[in-house]
Assembly symmetry: C2
Homo-oligomer: 431 residues x 2
Amino acid sequence: MMGLDAPLSEQTKEELLQRLEMLVMNLLEELALYSSSEGSGVTRLLFSKEWLKAQQALKEIMGNNGLVPSFDEAGNLYGTLQGSQAELPAVITGSHIDTVVNGGRYDGAYGIAAALAAVQYLRETYGPPLRSIEVVSLSEEEGSRFPMAYWGSGSITGERGFADIANLEDGDGVPFLQAMKACGFGEGSARTALREKGSMAAFIELHIEQGAVLEREGLSVGVVDAIVGQRRFVVTVTGEANHAGTTPMHMRKDALEGACAMVILLREEAARHGEPLVATAGRMTVHPNVPNVVPGKVEFTVDIRHSDPVRLEAFCGWFSEAFREAANHRGLAFACAEWFREEPTPMDSRLKGMLDAACGGLGVSYRRMVSGAGHDAQMFSRICPSAMLFVPSRGGISHSPEEYTAPSELAVGALVLAKLLYRLGYEGELA
Amino acid sequence: MMGLDAPLSEQTKEELLQRLEMLVMNLLEELALYSSSEGSGVTRLLFSKEWLKAQQALKEIMGNNGLVPSFDEAGNLYGTLQGSQAELPAVITGSHIDTVVNGGRYDGAYGIAAALAAVQYLRETYGPPLRSIEVVSLSEEEGSRFPMAYWGSGSITGERGFADIANLEDGDGVPFLQAMKACGFGEGSARTALREKGSMAAFIELHIEQGAVLEREGLSVGVVDAIVGQRRFVVTVTGEANHAGTTPMHMRKDALEGACAMVILLREEAARHGEPLVATAGRMTVHPNVPNVVPGKVEFTVDIRHSDPVRLEAFCGWFSEAFREAANHRGLAFACAEWFREEPTPMDSRLKGMLDAACGGLGVSYRRMVSGAGHDAQMFSRICPSAMLFVPSRGGISHSPEEYTAPSELAVGALVLAKLLYRLGYEGELA
């Protein structure tokens, strides 16, 4: 028996990776069929026809592979590999089945496919575990159909509920409730979405990095230290719109010049501050935005992320003060309004240590890193020990049909996941 | 007889100013009636119903005031005060009757009203001149209906012709030719628009400044040294659109940060260069322009103006080189395309000297200045000695219902114009 219960020979490891690669690739190819986009991109919005077909296909796959499938009322699909000591808290692993519009094949789907592949291998190799292992296909994470994200994981952890979606509509005016009911979900339609705190020993999410750090450093796996906190602001700089020909330079109150000085300040200070801080001015609107008028007003967004809440707070305080000074210095009016805030979420230390050990034991190159994007794991971390691991994204590209991770890299991630699931499910760690 | 043929007493000057003020204000109030905008703004687009009514009203006013009115085929209206030596080249004075959309009461209209007021005063005081004096209400200057400006003055000087407008349409798809014919103009409909070079001794245009220089310096009149040359460019900066959370600062190719650095460079170098150079980044478009994506591409316009062609050229060369370096330094791609070019136009030295002398003799505070905006005088200057004078614009505001010049300031401009017309028309200078 080739296994994860002892050091692997190179040959055994190679065979195991080939097996996992085949399983993961088959699942990813099947999931990519359920898409409303033409071409190579994938579009699978919450409660769409394609979304429902994907969840139903997964349910059948789970059933065919010795897992007990069940939906909850929020549209989350579980496949449970029953443990011999079913009274122990279960290990949950998976990710989200929904996508952005014209996204890739890997974001979310990979975490489900790899979990199914790892559990299939474990079951076929070791039979039933001690703890139950549940593979979850979370209904929604992206926020790409309705103006709300983390519906799937949030419903499980209590961060989201039916009261929150009562008045939501999609871009076509279809109510959330109506779309949910058309798929057979909604209050009381299936088992309750909300789970009791003690019912979960751990949540493990495997995901593509969506950045280029692993690729550039030639590493196979990223063990996520923390998911960054995010703060987003709209900055408004107001000067005076004036004739570009008749207003001498010294009489101008050029809002664009002021805004540009702020963008430069932001960039310079963020670079000086160093990783893992990132600061981005992503959207800018200029008024009146015509070639021969000195801009009178500029609005731009500032997105600041850091894994350390104190440093995040300090940087936000710094930039708003520095911007205000830059505006005052130029005789410009300045306003800064926060419109989005998410606190940093550290991942569970024991699980991170076990992931480090799994990589080490399997001879897989890895690093600790911060997740600059939000993930379902940050919801789960509020009610159970949670961890994430990343595999490389080619060119750092995500949310695009160009999203790509090599099959061999996908297999390595699944192998590390399998090793962790073995320790948690079969050896009963984290009791 | 109170007059311009000798130094004015304070009392005479005051009476003359009151008379000119009343005449100018009456004419401006009447012209403001012909507008398609609600409220205080004026909209009078070329060949619109309101435009035609305004020209017809002016024709009647001219006839009632001893001027011989006549249209040319381009829609320009002349009112001629016949000279006793009609074989001498005529003096032309006036401005344009069209406006921007929801513009003010003064831009263009003031130059016509002041010319009519000045000529009425001269005729009533001195009778017929030696040279003919022609007040012209030019059909179009703003380019606000069709994608072409200076139709009126350009048709007179040969810079515009019927071949140029054959395929032009307005924003509603109405052909230029059709709109022109509906008003009774077009090829052969009236006297030829194109004038012979020797038929004009001078063109004098009185206009609001559209800037705040005279107001800030507390001066009554600006004698225009030159109309600036203009060069306009579109700059394209291309980097890489990336995830704002997962792309560390040192891995970014942020097109917005690069563009902002260029805007700052432009501003700093323009300030260092000094007047009359002005440099403006007026329009900026960011792609994809969403808060959580590092901008991959930015386009912005650069508008450079100077009265000296050599310095204008040198500055354009400097900025494109400096921008290219800033882009290279950041690993960004850079392109710069010129899409508009107009050479600087110096005004006639003898006429400027006569305007200086007129201001001096009348005790009117003035300065020489550059016009940062284009005007009909730059067309006329190609075929006859041309000059411009400015009166203050409150707050530098123009192309807006807020456009304002105090009646007493309007009268001072008309007085200086009258003095110059007296010297040219009655004393026969510039023979």
